[in-house]
């Protein structure tokens, strides 16, 4: 009775054992990565839109405000996609023959909607509300990224549940003054870029935003100058808020870290506790 197996078979056997082990682990890691990959989440992908609309051009170049198009962002759960009329407001006069804008003109002529591809597309069982976020100090760019630097729109973030939870578990790290909501260039406060905020005790019925006012230039030197130097959006907003906060002669505190600012705003915007905003019924119904 001879040998059945060759000498090498022992080595082979052991090696195959090790390999299969490695294989299993590799598979696990791959799947784990896959579910977060842009292939699944569409993160950073530029959809093929009927009109190559450039936020960069309109926001950075022309300085349009977000709400000029997304009108209901402060009032409703939907920020709102502009009707064709909004486009035509300008494009009835300028670029009236641009080939790129043909779809817009057709829509205007025929009354058929422009079929945009949804870029930020949450699952159907998730109920997201824009208004509460912008009213409580979450800026556009926090979720949508530097839209003003996007020639073509894409999703900055995965919009997966873990991403939402990441903020809902600790809102402080993303809160900003409501006066800065639409400021695409907003940066978290730091030593060289501090933020000054003042708060008057807000009474019930008055939106919390009105009792807090923040500026990015030292108000001690010259509030007016601060205002003058501030970007237009901020200018308007700052005026509003300080107006709301009038009477109690705001004494400003200086914040040099997001953590400090975040917790200041957390308190004054009456943000709900993580336990409350990570409760399932916050987003699912």
């Amino acid at each position: 009775m001879p040998q059945i197996f060759d000498r090498s078979s022992n080595a082979l056997a052991r090696m195959s054992l090790v390999l299969s082990g490695i294989l299993v682990i590799a598979l696990g890691v791959t799947l784990d990565q896959l579910q977060r990959s842009p292939w699944v989440t569409r993160q950073g992908q530029r959809a093929d839109q009927p009109v190559p609309f450039s936020h960069k051009h309109h926001v950075q170049g022309l300085g349009l405000q977000c709400q000029y198009c997304h009108t209901t962002v402060e009032k409703s759960s939907y920020a709102g996609i502009p009707p064709t009329r909004t486009c035509m407001n300008c494009h009835a006069q300028i670029w009236t023959n641009a080939a790129l804008l043909a779809p817009v003109r057709n829509s205007w002529a025929t009354g058929q909607s422009i079929p945009w591809i949804k870029v930020h597309d949450l699952p159907d069982f998730v109920y997201f509300n824009h208004s509460i976020h912008v009213n409580k100090g979450i800026g556009c760019s926090t979720c949508h990224g530097r839209v003003d630097e996007m020639p073509l729109m894409y999703a900055q973030n995965t919009l997966q549940m873990e991403w939402c939870l990441d903020c809902h578990r600790n809102p402080a790290k993303n809160l900003r003054p409501t006066s800065q909501i639409y400021n695409m260039a907003w940066e978290k406060p730091s030593q060289d870029k501090p933020v000054w905020c003042s708060a008057v005790p807000g009474e019930s019925g008055v939106p919390t935003a009105d009792s807090v006012s923040c500026v990015t230039k030292d108000p001690a030197t010259n509030a007016a100058a601060a205002a003058a130097l501030a970007p237009p959006v901020l200018l308007m907003k700052a005026a509003l808020t300080s107006g709301g906060a009038q009477g109690a002669d705001p004494s400003y505190t200086k914040f040099t870290s997001q953590d400090a600012l975040g917790h200041f705003l957390l308190a004054h915007y009456k943000i709900k506790t993580p336990q409350q905003i990570t409760s399932c019924d916050t987003c699912h119904r």
């Binding site: 059945i4 197996f5 784990d32 579910q35 977060r36 995965t158 997966q160 873990e162 939870l165």
Partner: protein, 472 residues
């Protein structure tokens, strides 16, 4: 207890000890080996095997049909409804798991108790366990409303950041059943390694040599290996014993932890386990009796085995009976209206019949007859009885699941339950699957552990003389 006239008539009795033989007379290492290996290594498969295999195959087909339709349409094709939201699926699940238990019990607990007679039957009892667990494990999956997201029960880092809920008995099931399946397979395989060695060395065809060679991992019977092997087996047995007890305990928690009258009771764990063993041994008999006849293994699976299994069933049967008794007693003694009504409803309600079927099959018939050794050693009777008990145990689960659910707290939501053809097809399907797998096992694997049989042969007895001699 053996009487003189029994001695003359009964070849199964060892004249020296007056006890049943575990192994028939005149067996040698080689004869045993030949007998067992031939079954597998014979080039021509017996026709009967094909016949049964066909039956099993048909069952599997039925199962496939039922499952495809199930996945296309949803669990609504079953009879499950409000308020009876669990039906055949869970009944079959518990029933199959229960059957599984005997295998592990025989191979583990009897090993610890040094019950030599187990050796002839433990291999296919373990096989039975594994196939039963396969059938059982299928049900929790397919009874889900959305089986395609069943993987959510595993604690893995999904992007939802949501995790399983470990207070749920169903989560406990997940771990109990998966562990049980894994350990059983490992135990089974480890047990077979030396026999694979034998098969490798007995096999003529190159293919068989390769196959069994691989499976044997190159086993060569070094006594060092044997020593570690023995320790490992003993440890596995020692682990499998608490495991097998825990598994059905956990299954019983599915009910005992719930708030439902008829489920919410502390008696469940012990009597589920006992019931499991009860039905398990019944199933072993159902399989062993035809097998030993068909493959002429009377010498290896003797009447003594049948007889012992009968005794075990008698014992476990009484524990089960005690369980039923306690339910009734507590319903009265606790003076708790929910319990009392549940018990009354279980016995005399619209579905009372099922309770009496169970009592008849599980208590009246077995516990009155198993006393007699004559009946215990009557092969045909034991075969019939084993089937009766299996039926009874199925109805026990039916009673627990359905008759507790269909009339619970709010009378306004009382309902009823009529199984649909899809329910039956699924159940029959799993029976088919079981047969199918078991026949494959019989055909391709050694169904009796040779190495362990050898230790029981007279030749294995080391002459004391030899040993002392070596001393000087």
């Amino acid at each position: 207890m053996a009487t003189s006239e029994v001695k003359q008539v009964d070849p199964g009795i060892d004249p020296a000890t007056g006890e049943f033989r575990v192994i028939g007379q005149g067996q040698t290492f080689r004869s045993v080996t030949e007998k067992i290996t031939r079954i597998v290594l014979t080039p021509h498969t017996p026709l009967g095997w094909f016949a049964y295999f066909g039956v099993g195959g048909a069952g599997v087909t039925v199962l496939m049909v039922a499952l495809v339709w199930l996945f296309l349409k949803g669990v609504g094709i079953w009879a499950v409804t409000q308020p009876v939201a669990w039906g055949f699926a869970i009944i079959n699940f518990v029933w199959w798991i229960g059957i599984g238990h005997a295998g592990t019990l025989i191979s583990a607990i009897l090993l610890l108790f040094k019950q030599g007679w187990r050796n002839s039957i433990n291999r296919f009892a373990e096989a039975m366990t594994i196939f039963a667990v396969v059938c059982a494990g299928m049900f929790p999956l397919i009874h889900l409303g959305r089986p395609w997201v069943a993987y959510w029960v595993f604690p893995l880092p999904f992007t939802m950041n949501v995790w399983p809920q470990f207070r749920s008995p169903l989560m406990w099931d997940v771990f109990a059943v998966s562990t049980y399946a894994t350990i059983s397979v490992v135990f089974w395989y480890i047990g077979m390694v030396p026999d694979f060695g034998t098969m490798r060395d007995r096999a003529e065809s190159k293919l068989a040599q390769y196959a069994y060679g691989m499976l044997s991992l190159g086993w060569r019977g070094s006594v060092r290996h044997w020593a570690r092997y023995e320790t490992a087996s003993l440890l596995l047995a020692g682990l499998a014993t608490p495991l097998v007890l825990s598994v059905h305990t956990v299954i019983s928690f599915d009910f005992a932890v719930a708030a439902l009258p008829g489920w919410h009771t502390t008696i469940f764990p012990p009597y589920f386990v006992a019931g499991a063993i009860y039905s398990g041994f019944a199933m072993v008999l159902t399989l062993a009796i035809p097998l030993r006849k068909y493959y002429g293994l009377e010498a290896l699976v003797t009447e003594r085995h049948i007889d012992n299994m009968g005794k075990v069933m008698l014992a476990t049967g009484f524990i089960v009976g005690y369980g039923y008794g306690m339910e009734v007693f507590m319903a009265w003694y606790s003076a708790d209206h929910w319990e009392a009504f549940m018990m009354w409803n279980r016995m005399f309600g619209p579905m009372g019949w099922s309770y009496w079927v169970l009592v008849t099959c599980n208590l009246f018939i077995p516990l009155t007859t198993l006393w007699s050794r004559k009946l215990r050693t009557s092969i045909t009777y034991m075969f019939i009885l084993s089937i009766i008990v299996n039926t009874g145990m199925w109805f026990e689960r039916f009673v627990i699941v359905v008759t507790s659910l269909y009339r619970d707290y709010l009378p306004s939501s009382w309902g009823t339950y009529y199984a649909t053809k899809w329910d039956y097809m699924t159940y029959i399907g799993t029976l088919g699957l079981f047969t199918f797998l078991f026949l494959l096992f019989v055909r391709f694997l050694p169904m009796i552990p040779m190495s362990e049989i050898r230790t029981m042969l007279p030749a294995a007895k080391i002459k004391p003389k030899a040993v002392t001699e070596a001393g000087d």
